[in-house]
């Protein structure tokens, strides 16, 4: 079942720790966002495989914007 990982807050994408095809476990680090000059890590909500990545380094995202898809 596909699960979208959404941005928990608005910010700039600083780094993406995975690539399409990677297998991740729940609580693995996926993306680092910068908001209010502070880094915030987005973790995997569940075990799965990365099937798509929407987040691009340097991109400004809004809250609830999709960052990637896990399956």
């Amino acid at each position: 079942m596909a699960e979208e990982v959404l941005a928990p807050l608005a910010g700039k994408v600083l780094s993406v720790a995975v690539k399409v095809g990677d297998t991740v476990e729940e609580d693995d680090e996926l993306v680092v966002l910068e908001a209010m000059k502070m880094e915030t890590v987005v973790y995997a909500p569940a075990d799965g495989t990365v099937t798509a990545i929407q987040a691009q380094v340097g991109q400004q995202v809004e809250e609830d914007d999709p960052l990637m898809t896990l399956e």
Binding site: L9, D27, M38, T40, V41, Y43
Partner: protein, 367 residues
């Protein structure tokens, strides 16, 4: 006059040397530790040059820095200009999406009022007590604004205390927050807020100005400029003005504010026994404000199912966005998937308004 009598080196007093040390310490903290460098660097330099003898920099009607101080600070020009820039930087979205969070910003002014009464018990006048109490709001420009009106002789000490405590938010607040909350409370994940429309964001600064200024007219210089800056930002039609308010104008105001505030700290005014009390009382004010915000959030949780993480109550002090960052960080320490930052911005920006209103109330009562 003999030549050597005009040499500054023979007019140096021990008090001046102590003030040089204080000035150099502030410069060191700004550069080496990055403690509020934008303010502490010019303040530290202002302290240094104002305590070099025979310069006349702070001689009334003559000195360069005196003129900047007189027309900039005493005439209430510079702090409101800083507020214009702050307004242009502020997103009221998090506060408008959950208006109940405004109460936390109001509660976190508790330290201001508690310290106002405590300072009187230590023998300070009403005006001095109000100036010391406002440090609890952790808002530098508001502290300077109020001090210039009520107790100019305490301006330097109160400003340095306010900016020092703002820089020390990540050190002062966490122990108090930890003491007053349980691990379970720190883990509370707050429900997503509703989206705030662009129209709401545009209406807010206008409506807030009318309501607040009608209630507390003396807060108008700060509130009006703050909301004007915010209207620039949210209108989206005056990008140039928003940019100027956020950057160039704010930077110019910051330079003049810092150097003049530092220059008010001459040895004879600053090196007095009661100044140490100002720092102690200011710290107490700040700690009580932090506690009041946290405790009100816990109290509100007794009456609602939609729980508030009490950590964000501490963000009700006006140090933006440091206090919100501290709440977020502590929430993430308890539960790494707890993202409190935007929730904490609600009380945080409310706190700025709350401190400005507190200053207005003091001015109305005591000015």
């Amino acid at each position: 006059m003999p030549f050597f009598e005009q040499l500054g080196v023979f007019a140096v007093t021990p008090g001046m040397v102590v003030m040089w040390m204080i000035g150099l310490t502030l410069i060191y903290l700004a550069i080496a530790r990055e403690f509020e460098p934008l303010l502490l660097l010019p303040i530290g330099f202002g302290v240094l040059v104002a305590n070099l003898p025979l310069t006349g920099l702070m001689t009334p009607d003559e000195g360069l820095i005196w003129r900047l101080y007189h027309y900039g600070v005493e005439w209430e020009v510079i702090p409101p200009l800083i507020f214009l820039g702050l307004g242009a930087h502020t997103d009221f979205g998090p506060m408008l999406s959950q208006p109940r969070l405004m109460f936390l910003g109001a509660a976190a002014q508790g330290g201001v009022y508690v310290t106002f009464f405590a300072a009187q018990a230590f023998g300070f006048t009403l005006q001095e007590s109000a100036t010391i109490g406002i440090i609890g709001g952790a808002d530098g420009p508001t502290t300077i604004f109020l001090a210039a009106q009520l107790a100019p002789h305490l301006l330097g000490a109160c400003a340095v205390a306010a900016y020092s405590y703002m820089a020390l938010v990540p050190i002062i607040q966490p122990p108090i927050m930890r003491l007053l909350t349980t691990e379970q409370e720190r883990k509370i994940r707050m429900k997503k807020s509703r989206k705030v429309t662009a129209r709401e964001k545009r209406l807010f600064p206008v409506a807030a100005t009318i309501v607040i200024v009608l209630l507390v007219p003396a807060s108008a210089p700060l509130i009006a400029m703050f909301m004007l800056g915010n209207l620039f930002r949210e209108s989206k039609v005056v990008e140039r003005l928003t940019d100027t308010a956020q950057n160039a104008l704010m930077n110019i105001a910051t330079i003049f504010l810092g150097v003049t505030v530092g220059a008010t700290m001459s040895a004879d005014v600053f090196l007095r026994g009661d100044v140490i009390f100002i720092f102690v009382l200011g710290l107490a004010a700040f700690a009580v404000s932090t506690a009041c915000g946290v405790l009100l959030a816990k109290l509100m949780n007794l009456f609602t199912n939609d729980k508030i993480n009490p950590l964000i109550g501490a963000a009700g002090v006006s140090a933006v966005p440091m206090a919100a960052r501290v709440a977020h960080k502590m929430g993430a320490e308890a539960d790494k998937k707890n993202y409190l930052l935007m929730f904490a911005m609600g009380p945080n920006v409310s706190g700025v308004i709350g401190t400005a209103i507190a200053a207005g109330i003091f001015l109305t009562m005591l000015g």
